[in-house]
């Protein structure tokens, strides 16, 4: 199906227009991105998946060794500090790589889906120091390769990843009658069981009860994380012996192999309420807060027919007439706003990379060499710090100020998605500030009207074009393109 509006395709289903990048021409082109994206290696984690596993396990061992030494009265502050610095550094690199990924990838729809699902199955780098390294790994390992296949597969990959088990305390949870509970008094933690039903599958208010939450938590017992290998493991001594009833089915773990949670995930994925919940959420994310019910229904039908094949669900969404009408109902989230801004500016990837280098250069170094620096050195140091501050203010700091720091959702429910949340006075002034900042730094020699065309093409209102052309100076013209309602809506 040829698209009635390629500009809308790029804005509503991607991260906006980028000069030199042809917007998607038809539905197949959009869907084709999914397969392409799934096999592509993302720019994070920086050492790749195997490399990151090595890093994470090394850091965890170091921390464990230090904790042990501290307990024994020999704390090693240097080790602790160095580890913290390394984790912070790695997070920053990965977060910048995530920005770069979204900015530079020509697979906008795939990237938007990656963000959608990473947010749907939220985890946070703020949970613990090792999580700074594991969350990027989680997105690369669990979310990105699986967002076009069956929902069951995506659900299992997300739930059964160390990041999710750590984030929602599953690694702390043991069955009340398990060996571990009897031995050391630990007990059940319902966190993952609850969010699994409420957020990941059936949806809040879909009719499940507290008993169901507890049942799900019991079925999940035994799942834990081997921190030394950073792998999910099944620990029989944590597991609650069955049978457990959940939503009309009894889970017995007959084979005693700890696979009852797999069955549960399959059942939850196949539950019609899950299809309803997820399809509704996709439409609310891509189209409008007030999801058109006929569109959701068409997607649910595709879900049922394909047994939860997500590409078929996306196809049903894109084939619906409502997918191409009434643009601008949603407000770009901060990440989308910043990414689409950089795309419109067409900043070369190398230059974007330099921003990370500036931030790295600005890291404090209190070593003896630094202390011995003369006045000139100190001035250079000030300059370095200033550049670091600026690079941060353009990227990660901007997202922090706008309320959407990378991989740091405020809760397991992820970031808010309603348009009203992202169109407030303070949000708007942050966006105007950011627009001014990038316009001054990157837009000094650009023609505002040319930039408007690059950023919005035919999505710009004629009155907006007129106002931009009359701006009192070019920098303000560029600023207004980025701050315009059209550029902030999708």
């Amino acid at each position: 199906m040829a698209l009635p509006n390629p500009t809308l395709a790029a804005i509503r289903y991607g991260y906006g227009l980028r000069p030199g990048e042809e917007p998607p021409r038809d539905v197949e082109a959009l869907l084709g991105q999914i397969e392409e994206g799934a096999i592509e290696k993302p720019r994070f984690p920086r050492e790749g998946i195997a490399g990151r596993l090595d890093t994470a396990t090394r850091v965890v061992s170091l921390l464990a060794a230090e904790a042990k030494a501290r307990k024994a009265g020999n704390p090693n502050e240097d080790v602790r500090k160095a580890t913290q610095n390394e984790a912070r550094h790695i997070y920053r690199q990965d977060a910048m790589a995530r920005l770069a990924q979204a900015i530079h990838s020509p697979l906008g729809f795939y990237e938007r889906l990656a963000s959608f699902w990473t947010d749907h199955f939220s985890t946070s780098v703020m949970k613990s120091l090792p999580m700074r390294m594991i969350v990027p790994l989680y997105e690369a390992q669990a979310i990105r390769p699986n967002l076009g296949g069956s929902f069951t597969r995506l659900l299992s990959a997300a739930i059964l990843h160390p990041a999710m088990l750590i984030y929602l305390d599953q690694d702390q949870s043991v069955g009340p009658d398990s060996v571990a509970a009897r031995r050391n008094g630990r007990g059940l933690n319902e966190n993952l069981g609850r969010e699994l039903l409420e957020l990941h599958t059936l949806g809040a208010g879909s009719g499940y009860t507290q008993d169901d939450v507890r049942a799900a938590a019991l079925i999940l017992t035994g799942l834990s994380v081997d921190n030394r290998a950073m792998q999910v493991v099944y620990q029989p001594r944590f597991a609650e012996a069955g049978p457990v009833d959940l939503l009309g089915r009894t889970y017995r773990d007959d084979e005693g192999d700890g696979q009852d949670h797999v069955l549960m995930l399959e059942d939850l994925a196949a539950n019609p309420k899950t299809a309803q919940h997820i399809c509704g959420k996709l439409v609310r994310h891509f189209i409008a807060d007030d999801a058109p019910p006929e569109m959701v229904a068409a997607m649910v039908a595709a879900w049922t027919k394909s047994r939860g094949n997500l590409t078929e669900v996306y196809r049903a969404m894109l084939a619906h007439p409502r997918a191409w009408s009434d643009p601008g109902q949603k407000i770009k989230q901060p990440f989308e706003f910043v990414v689409s801004g950089f795309r419109a500016l067409d900043l070369p990837e190398r230059n974007f990379g330099n921003l990370l280098r500036d931030m790295d250069d600005g890291d404090e170094d209190e070593g003896p060499v630094q202390k011995a620096m003369d006045l000139t050195g100190m001035a250079a140091r000030e300059d370095t710090k200033k550049k670091a501050g600026r690079a941060n203010a353009l990227t990660l700091g901007a997202l922090q100020r706008m309320g959407q720091p990378i991989w740091q959702p405020p809760s397991p429910a992820g970031f808010a998605d309603e348009a009203s949340v992202w169109l407030t006075p303070s949000q708007l002034s942050e966006r105007i500030s950011w627009s001014r900042m990038v316009a001054r730094i990157f837009g000094q020699k650009m023609e505002p009207s040319v930039f408007l065309q690059a950023a919005l093409a035919d999505a710009a209102h004629p009155e907006t074009s007129r106002i931009i052309a009359q701006a009192p100076n070019k920098v303000h013209g560029i600023t207004m393109v980025l701050a315009s309602a059209e550029f902030n809506r999708r």
């Binding site: 500030s433 000094q444 100076n473 309602a485």
Partner: protein, 392 residues
């Protein structure tokens, strides 16, 4: 569009003088060029088309009062008389001590060769390139660097943000800016209001942002903007007191289509703040050797419009300040304001080329021959040793 050039930042240090590293402004870049010799030259670009007729009001012209019934002042309504014919807008009263000391002059009815279209972007391009048309893509201040005698000892800073067009070009110049993203100018806010007028949700958020202390402070705060302007000028002054001899920066806020009185007062206040701060930062000795030239892309309509403002015009005003200028004068050839004297029956008729003012100041400050200036810096300009701006 591509930003390969100039964005990759040098790691080299700068500012051995470290005078103002901590206290200065980033996002309005201040551009510098270092030069041997003691004389200094500063350009200030007033972006948005400054209304010269409001800044230095020709109250003695018989047609003035009728053209400007709301905006026009007289000495008995607050105008500060300068010479019996022209008077200074009271918003610039902070500059009066300079006028009295012979460190301030104005050049009326000047413009670039830009005509007819009245587009800010094109007008500013021409003001900064100093050429006759759109072909030139380097700044005249940058080209000047190559023709200043004794320039072998030139030292330059190699830092980032983006250089403004006036100092862009093949010759080494530095740009440096401060951390603070200082507040929007009044005309910029007015444009944002217009931008959001068609989208009620955005218009409402914008209205509230202006009323909310925190947002308003970061975006629109007068105090913050004033501090930002002063920081920028202090930075420029500090640099000029040390190794640098040429500096350039911009002040926005002059596009006063609506409610000019309030907007113009703020913009004039910003310019006055900048000049006073520059003088203070330079110190007495350096100020004596300094010429500041503030100029704009074009002037505004002689008549007020229907919204208490003025629209894009042609002939404008240049401001000269510093201890090395012919001070205490309103220079230029006054064309008169009667309707037959106006350009297109609407604009102050330009009787002088602002580039000639710039050329004369460069010649005075750096001993550059007029021929060299017309050949290399301002192609097409007619300027020679007989120029009135070389006298006094």
């Amino acid at each position: 569009m591509s930003f390969d050039n100039g964005f990759r930042l040098s790691r080299r240090g700068f500012l051995a003088g470290a005078c103002c590293v901590a206290a200065s402004p980033i996002l309005t870049p201040v551009s510098f060029a270092a030069m041997p010799g003691d004389n200094r030259f500063v350009t200030i670009i007033l972006r948005g088309a400054m209304d010269g007729l409001d800044f230095v009001q020709p109250y003695g012209d018989p047609a003035y009062a009728a053209l400007r019934p709301k905006l026009g002042l007289r000495p008995d309504t607050g105008l500060i008389d300068l010479d019996g014919f022209f008077g200074l807008n009271p918003a610039a009263s902070a500059l009066m001590p300079l006028w009295q000391a012979g460190e301030l002059s104005f050049v009326h009815a000047v413009s670039t060769p830009y005509r007819d279209q009245r587009s800010h972007f094109d007008g500013q391009d021409m003001l900064e390139t100093g050429g006759n048309g759109k072909g030139e893509r380097t700044g005249w201040l940058n080209r000047t660097l190559a023709v200043i005698p004794r320039s072998n000892a030139r030292k330059a800073i190699d830092i980032n943000t983006s250089m403004e067009l006036i100092l862009s070009g093949p010759n080494e110049a530095d740009s440096w800016s401060s951390q603070s993203n200082f507040a929007l100018a009044q005309d910029e806010i007015a444009f944002l209001d217009r931008l959001y007028a068609g989208d009620p949700a955005f218009a409402k958020a914008m209205e509230e942002a202006k009323k909310t202390d925190m947002s308003a402070d970061s975006l629109y705060g007068d105090a913050k903007r004033g501090a930002g302007i002063a920081d920028m000028a202090k930075l420029a002054g500090g640099m000029l007191r040390e190794d640098y001899r040429i500096a350039s920066f911009s002040i926005n806020g002059w596009d006063t289509h609506v409610g000019q009185q309030g907007q113009f007062k703020k913009a004039v206040g910003d310019l006055s703040t900048a000049i006073v701060a520059l003088k203070a930062a330079l110190g007495e000795d350096a100020w004596k050797k300094t010429v500041v030239l503030a100029m704009t892309e074009f002037g505004r309509t002689a008549r007020e419009n229907g919204t208490n403002g003025t629209d894009h015009g042609t002939g404008g005003l240049a401001v000269l300040a510093g201890g090395a200028i012919p001070g205490g004068k309103v220079l230029g050839k006054w064309p008169g304001l009667s309707e037959d004297k106006l350009l297109d029956r609407r604009d102050l008729m330009p009787t002088g080329d602002v580039r000639e003012v710039a050329a004369a100041m460069l010649s005075r400050q750096f001993g550059i021959e007029p021929d060299t200036l017309t050949a290399k810096v301002f192609p097409g300009l007619s300027f020679d040793t007989s120029s009135a701006y070389l006298k006094g």
